[in-house]
Amino acid sequence: MPKRFVASMVAVAVVLIFSACTYAQEQEVARQPGAVYDFDKKGEKPGPAPKRDLSGVWEPAAGPGAGIHATGAGEMPSDGKAEHELPYTDEGRKTFMAHKPTFGITQVPSALTNDPMPGCDPQGFPRILLHNFRTSRIIQTPQNVVILYEFNKKWRTIWTDGRQLPKDPESPTWGAPDAPEARWWGYSVGKWTDDYTFVVDSNGFDDRTWLDNAGRPLSDRLHVTEVYHRVDDVHLDMTVTIDDPTMYTKPWVALKLRLRLQKPGLDIREMECAPSETQEYNKEFANPAAGIDGK
C-alpha cells in the first residue's frame, strides 16, 4: 500500500473532520430565552418519572427548532425520497396534488398558495403538532387534560372522564344536547395505559384543514393516536400516528418528538395570526417576490 496514498487519505479525512467541527461551532444555537435544552445538560442523570403526570411547560428537548417541520410530518417529510412516500389512496393522492403548499416537493411561492392557514384559517389538529410544535403547557384536571399551544395561541381539551369518541366521525358529537359538528380540532379522549403512558384518540375533524405544512390531506374519517410516554422527571416522548382510510391505505407514524420540562414560570410567547399583518406581508413582500403585484 503506497505510503503516499495512505497519507492522502488521512489528509482528506482530517480536512473533513475539521470542516464538520468548524461548521458546528459557527452554527448559532437558537434558544428561547430562559428555556433549558438537553444540550445544556450533557451528562445529566435525570430522576425517575412521576406517575401519571404530564403537567407542566414543555419545550422540544433538542432545541426550539426541533418541533418545526416545514416540509411536512417529521417522520415522513415531503422531500421526494422513496422512503417518505405516503401510502396514498387514489383520493388521497388527488387531494394532495390539488393542494399548493409553500413547502415540500409540490411547493409554490407564498403568493400562489391555497393553504388555508396563512390567511389565518385555523391550523387545527393534528397540524399543530406536525407543523409548528412549540412551547406548550399541559394542564391536568380530574376530568380532562388541556394543552395550550404557542403557535397561533390555541388550546385543546382531551377528555379523561370516560366518555367515548363520537361513534360516527363524519357526524361527530359528544351526545345530546350537542348537535353534531365537525371541528377544526376534532374530538379527543385519553387514558393511562400504565403509570407512565398516556394514549389519546381523536376523530371528528373538519376536513378544511391540512394534515401538515406540505399539503398532506385529511378527511373526516381521520383517526389520530398520540402516545405520551413520561420517560423520566424531565422528558416526555410524544408519538403521533395517522389513520385515515379515505386518504391513506394504512396507518403511518407522522411524528416522534422528545420534550423537556421547563420551569413553571417560562412564558409561552404570543404568536397570533393577524389578517391585517398577513395582508401587509403579502402586499410588501410575498406578491413582489412572486411578481404578481402588478409592477
Partner: protein
C-alpha cells in the same frame, strides 16, 4: 490489503459526509437558492410581525440609483430565539446586509445577515454561510 484500505477510507468518508447536516430545499420556490448579495443600506422600516418580520431599506446600485429593498426573516418568536428584537433595527440605521434574492430580479429576498451600526452581526435563516436557506414552515 489495498482493497481493504480503500474500503475503510470510503466508509470513513461516508460517515464524515453524512455527519455534516444536509439541508433540503425548503419553501424557497421564489428564491435564487444559494445566490448571495451583500450591500450597504439605510433602514427605512423594520416590521416586527407574523407571518414574517421584514426589513425595508434603501441601497445604491452600481449606477448610483437608489433601490428600495424588502427582505424577510422568520417570525418574531423565531427571531427572539436568534437574538433579535423589535428594537434591533430602526429607520436611519446604516447597515451592511447579505440577502438571498428572489429569482425574478426584484429587490426582494431573504435577509441572511445584517451588520448593525455598532458592529454587531445578527443572522437569520441560519446566516450568510448557510448553503441553502431552511424554512420555518410559513
Amino acid at each position: 490489503m489495498r482493497n481493504k484500505s480503500i474500503g475503510v477510507f470510503v466508509s470513513l468518508l461516508a460517515v464524515l459526509l453524512f455527519s455534516v447536516p444536509m439541508f433540503a430545499h425548503h419553501g424557497s420556490a421564489a428564491f435564487d437558492m444559494g445566490k448571495r448579495l451583500t450591500m450597504k443600506g439605510t433602514v427605512t422600516d423594520w416590521i416586527w410581525a407574523n407571518p414574517h418580520c421584514f426589513l425595508k431599506y434603501d441601497s445604491t446600485d452600481a449606477s448610483g440609483n437608489v433601490v428600495h429593498w424588502v427582505v424577510e426573516t422568520s417570525n418574531p418568536p423565531d427571531m427572539i430565539n436568534s437574538g433579535w428584537s423589535k428594537q434591533s433595527l430602526k429607520p436611519g440605521d446604516q447597515v451592511t446586509i447579505t440577502v438571498e434574492p428572489v429569482k425574478n430580479g426584484r429587490p426582494v429576498g431573504h435577509l441572511l445577515e445584517v451588520i448593525l451600526p455598532d458592529g454587531k452581526t445578527l443572522s437569520a435563516w441560519g446566516g450568510a454561510k448557510r448553503k441553502e436557506v431552511p424554512g420555518n414552515g410559513f
